[in-house]
Symmetry: D3
Subunit: 144 residues, 6 copies
Amino acid sequence: MKLPKLITTVYAHCDLMCGVYDPAQARIEAQSVYNAAKKYADSKDPVFKQRAVQIKEERAQLAKEHLWVLWTDYFKPEHVEKFPQLHDLFWRATKAAGEAKKSMEVTAAEDLIKLVDEIGGIFAQTKPGYDYDAVRKNAELQAA
Amino acid sequence: MKLPKLITTVYAHCDLMCGVYDPAQARIEAQSVYNAAKKYADSKDPVFKQRAVQIKEERAQLAKEHLWVLWTDYFKPEHVEKFPQLHDLFWRATKAAGEAKKSMEVTAAEDLIKLVDEIGGIFAQTKPGYDYDAVRKNAELQAA
Amino acid sequence: MKLPKLITTVYAHCDLMCGVYDPAQARIEAQSVYNAAKKYADSKDPVFKQRAVQIKEERAQLAKEHLWVLWTDYFKPEHVEKFPQLHDLFWRATKAAGEAKKSMEVTAAEDLIKLVDEIGGIFAQTKPGYDYDAVRKNAELQAA
Amino acid sequence: MKLPKLITTVYAHCDLMCGVYDPAQARIEAQSVYNAAKKYADSKDPVFKQRAVQIKEERAQLAKEHLWVLWTDYFKPEHVEKFPQLHDLFWRATKAAGEAKKSMEVTAAEDLIKLVDEIGGIFAQTKPGYDYDAVRKNAELQAA
Amino acid sequence: MKLPKLITTVYAHCDLMCGVYDPAQARIEAQSVYNAAKKYADSKDPVFKQRAVQIKEERAQLAKEHLWVLWTDYFKPEHVEKFPQLHDLFWRATKAAGEAKKSMEVTAAEDLIKLVDEIGGIFAQTKPGYDYDAVRKNAELQAA
Amino acid sequence: MKLPKLITTVYAHCDLMCGVYDPAQARIEAQSVYNAAKKYADSKDPVFKQRAVQIKEERAQLAKEHLWVLWTDYFKPEHVEKFPQLHDLFWRATKAAGEAKKSMEVTAAEDLIKLVDEIGGIFAQTKPGYDYDAVRKNAELQAA
């Protein structure tokens, strides 16, 4: 059968040349999305508000991309066995990033952050010694 | 409960502002990956071979990105219900794009094309009138 | 004489390493431009309208780039001999992409689509078996 | 008749919002292409040579893009009337940029520079006071 | 001692493979920033104004990036010795590019241009024969 | 006097709309540079080695860009007063990123990491509660 063999090969090759994966990258961008939504809500200057919409869009796109890379490149079949919710969780998290582009509600950014944190928690379970709490706290320090 | 509500909202918003989704974009890039692998194998010129590795890498990255966008932005909960293999299929397809970066084997590109075609077939089933066969034939015409 | 020699060399090298060229890429982006203009016109939500302007701008830029690549990289001197309008057609098509950035009129997007379709028709004549009608129909299925 | 009307509109709109166009951008990148080809030829270090191929590729792509923008966005119908060779000149120049990616010969970079200079000369004729000679001399100062 | 050694190495390697550096690139983008701010001020069309904000943002970003590259890649320890204001000048110039994103005032763009011109003057002193005055005049010709 | 006033304005505006700044972004990319250099040294597969050179180049570029953004956008005049070495430190760190592109030595990546860590330590001093040690440890966990 073809596909299981393919996955095995991917896994083997990845051991040779996987890069550095870190949910901090998505978490930092998600924080920027939140800050932009917050500042949008607090401002009355139309140019500032336009720029906040635009910057939020770019940051949500980056959060989405970092999440996609984690999903496809970092996680492996044995992780999916252990965390069967993984595919659906990433799907909802990347959809939440899309939603955070469309909506100016601060709650849309909060939904994104919550899902990234859920992914960060799973990531930490797969990598002994990784401190996701520090990542979250560092990001929260920078809240608008 | 939070998350089902989120998905519903995403779905509703997407009806207002979803773009144009077309698996032809991923299929065209997958063909480029195949052509680059083929030309790499057929050449003895070291600079040509270096450029083939590089161009294959870029094209596989684009195939991966087009697949991620389809997965997150086009497909909706009711599609996943009807095609329960969807998440795993996209995971294997984007991993195959990664594999096609790493490997110079033409078979790695063929694996990617097969998975993109499987996704294209499902896409066509969700969009009455969409002709994925023509997409595939147009791409194959351009095979190296 | 220098330049004819240059062109001959380009042609020869291109046979060794040309990628995959497909007017479907420009056609898909032109459809996105049309959809964004349509949705802009139909909406009263200022943030939605801002995002439609921005997304239309990005998609028109991609349409422009795909057209430039086709013009420079795919078409060769013998095509220009057979289709003497080619240079002017691409010039007008890429200018129409620029115009579709500036104007919020749906007709600007329609002008772009018409010119891309004209190019697609010529492309099909240079590549026996290529089905541009299917490309056009697949794109129209996704009209806003 | 449709198309002449389109062109007129483009022209009018461009007067309202055209950016800053300057052939110096393409000339600088063409110089980088030349320097990379020169340094490639002069080196025996394989990593250095690989990087020179890659950097040359990126710089030639930028030269190509700057040329495309000049062609589509700066030049207008009355310029084409006055300089009937314009379309063909830009086609050859952007093809020369492609050739300068493929070939490691210094002469390929020289061909590109010659064509960019020809375009720069025409540009200067359309913009009284523009000093293209200074652009050329500044670039030549930085030759490898 | 570690760091002086590092700098020496950088300097030596850079002699082998430095690219082409030219303050004209930053100056051209700074002129675009100015033109966009001017046109924003002169227009009453809300879509045009939105696009001017966005285009100004992108051009200021490019000016910033060209300045960073000059600072890190072109200038060397002996230049900093001769022009001790160099670090602070680049810091203020890149901050002025950021300011020119935020502010719609034409004076913000003028501040950026003045700092780029100051850098261009220093650059010319480090490169005998380089004509920065021509760069400035060419850019000014294209003022909105 | 002009410039001090400019800086004051920048500072004030930044309070309204600065994003999220985090040295973790540069640290993660610096770790990737290190891993790529390490894997390059350990491999005998020429395609793998080519890809390691290329990936190292891209990651070093991202490290450089994250550093530039921190320098220009996060740090303010009062920080420079308190940490007078700041400009020179960033200059050496971004030059070390350039050096880590050129050199295949693992020590070049180590030099970059050391300078990023020095910047991270200063950043932590300017932001009470920020845990740079956790950032460093998380990155080191992913060493090749």
